[in-house]
């Protein structure tokens, strides 16, 4: 295995984060803080407790997930799309590295960034509302698993996209709605039965539910199911990446 190449890609991508610190870290933190001000304090003060916790506290896991999901996709898709766009991809393709190593470098860096970001947002949330994490190990496990899975998903989008429009399309039109409808701001148990059933088709519901359980031991669906669904999505992404590299899709002609 070409460890040095993985390291080179990883560090190169991380360097891009530090160089664009404002865009990478500061702006998601600011927008999440705004959610707390609007939903947590302004509106949340009018809402009674949800499943035994205050509303402001209730939305913390969902907000962290919201950022981790969107940032994982954004980081990884841009990370691999940009070399394609400016043409520096030639070097990756001609280097003595396996596809598996390319993925490790890019997805590893994208996931690292969004995990750091998720933890920063969590710390920021702690300034607004009291937090208690019942299962810190599971909290981290869900965070890492989600970051890796969606970085992999972002990597696929970055390879598939052949223009900036497509790069934005999936995150804007698919991921954001799924996240908002996935119970970031409410429990799906609060929905009428029909809508609740429909919601269960949304994979994000399982992520947020499991993540919220690790904080407050309350969940919309069973924890095992949450873990299972996340792993299933991870597996689907892995197969897609394997196929992309096997066929050279959008990379080699």
């Amino acid at each position: 295995m070409n460890i040095r190449a993985i390291q080179a890609i990883y560090l190169f991508e991380m360097a891009r984060t530090w160089r664009t610190l404002l865009q990478s870290i500061v702006s998601p933190v600011v927008s999440t803080s705004l959610y707390f001000v609007v939903f947590g304090s302004a509106i949340g003060s009018r809402i009674t407790q949800v499943e035994g916790v205050s509303y402001g506290t209730f939305i913390v896991p969902g907000l962290v997930m919201l950022s981790v999901l969107t940032q994982s996709i954004a980081n990884a898709s841009f990370g691999i799309y940009f070399p394609k766009f400016v043409g520096t991809i030639y070097e990756l393709l001609s280097a003595p590295i396996s596809y598996y190593e390319i993925v490790l470098g890019y997805v590893g860096a994208a996931a690292t960034k969004s995990i750091i970001l998720g933890l920063i947002i969590l710390a920021t949330a702690g300034l607004f509302v009291p937090l208690h994490i019942h299962h810190p190990f599971w909290m981290l496990a869900f965070l890492v698993l989600t970051a890796v899975t969606f970085s992999l998903f972002g990597f696929i989008i970055g390879i598939w996209a052949d223009g900036f429009e497509k790069l934005q399309m999936i995150p804007m039109l698919v991921v954001t709605p799924l996240t908002f409808l996935g119970g970031s701001f409410y429990s799906v148990n609060m929905l009428p039965p029909t809508w609740r059933t429909i919601s269960l088709l949304n994979p994000v519901v399982y992520l947020i539910s499991g993540f919220r359980w690790s904080f407050y031991e309350i969940s919309d669906v069973s924890v095992g199911l949450s873990v299972g669904m996340t792993l299933a999505f991870l597996a689907i992404c892995m197969v897609a990446v394997w196929w992309i590299f096997k066929t050279g899709y959008r990379l080699k002609n």
Binding site: A5, V86, G87, Y90, L92, P96, I97, K252
Partner: protein
């Protein structure tokens, strides 16, 4: 000399059905400078891309340093440095960072002394901390060469290295290439500038419409196809060539002031002495004379010209 790159029965057909390469067979000798000449769209870049792993071959087998480029791609690619035609660079990286990144990508341990040497050789040392976006085109080209040399390749591909580079820089680039060859690196360059091939190459391959139509030693190619012409400026114009001179197959310029004699440099006798004697006998006097040799350019044009 043993060959370092061996291409056998290579064909490439794109998804669109366009056949870019057709049964290419090519051996590149260790330590040589090989120039690949061909018009636009002849398949030069496709050939390089396949050897380097950027495009997939449709058919055929390629080895680099004895390693199959598909089955032993790591070993094969480690030996290769590639400088593509287009200036693809990470605009916001520093020169030092991007060159060091390339070395890492090729799995080589950090070696700041080597990177320093490469940058100094390419006159980029004082720009090492500059962002690439601030560099001129010629400097960016050299950054790309530095990236390719960062991992100490044994084979260097230069795809049109001097396209869009001014005369001064071209000369500098040639210097760099010669030094590399002296250090043992095999160099394959494609070029549109025929004088570049003439100046630099040990051997020349001509590719046209996806087929290699010629591979020759530059010197023997020049000799084989090289014709010389003797042009004689006459003191006074003549209207027709005297019949006595017909064995020489002379040409008369339109205004009748110049006689042109073509001869083969390879022939044992060029016939110049007897021609001059016969001219004198025919009473034709000349004021000046010059000889010209067919350039590689003429040879090239005659090879790829479609009737």
């Amino acid at each position: 000399m043993a060959s370092i790159i061996s291409v056998a029965h290579l064909s490439k057909t794109y998804g669109s059905g366009f056949k870019a390469l057709d049964n290419i067979n090519l051996e590149i000798q260790r330590g040589e400078i090989f120039a690949l000449l061909g018009p636009n769209g002849a398949g030069k870049t496709t050939l390089i891309s396949i050897i380097c792993g950027i495009a997939n071959p449709t058919q055929g087998k390629i080895t680099v340093g004895g390693h199959d480029i598909i089955h032993s791609y790591r070993a094969a690619r480690s030996l290769i440095g590639l400088v593509p035609q287009e200036l693809h660079t990470d605009a916001f990286e520093s020169v030092w960072a991007t060159v060091s990144f390339s070395r890492g990508l090729f799995g080589k341990p950090k070696n700041p002394a080597h990177i320093e040497r490469v940058l100094k050789d390419l006159s980029l040392w004082d720009k090492k901390d500059a962002k690439i976006v601030t560099l001129s085109g010629g400097m960016k080209r050299r950054v790309m060469i530095a990236k390719a040399l960062s991992h100490e390749p044994q084979v260097l591909f230069l795809d049109e290295p001097t396209a869009g580079v001014d005369v001064e820089l071209r000369k500098g680039m040639w210097e760099v290439v010669r030094r590399l060859q002296a250090s043992g690196v095999t160099i394959i360059l494609t070029t549109h500038y025929i004088d570049e091939a003439e100046e630099m190459a040990d051997r020349i391959g001509v590719i046209n419409k996806g087929e290699i139509i010629l591979v020759e030693d530059k010197a023997s190619l020049m000799q084989k196809l090289g014709k010389k012409q003797l042009r004689l400026q006459l003191q006074s114009s003549i209207e027709a060539i005297p019949p006595a001179l017909s064995p020489y197959k002379l040409e008369l310029s339109d205004d009748g002031s110049e006689l042109i004699y073509s001869y083969d440099t390879k022939g044992e006798r060029t016939g110049i002495t007897s021609l001059l004697g016969d001219l004198r006998a025919a009473g034709i006097k000349f004021s000046d004379l010059e000889t010209t040799q067919t350039s590689l350019e003429d040879i090239f044009v005659s090879l790829v010209r479609t009737p």
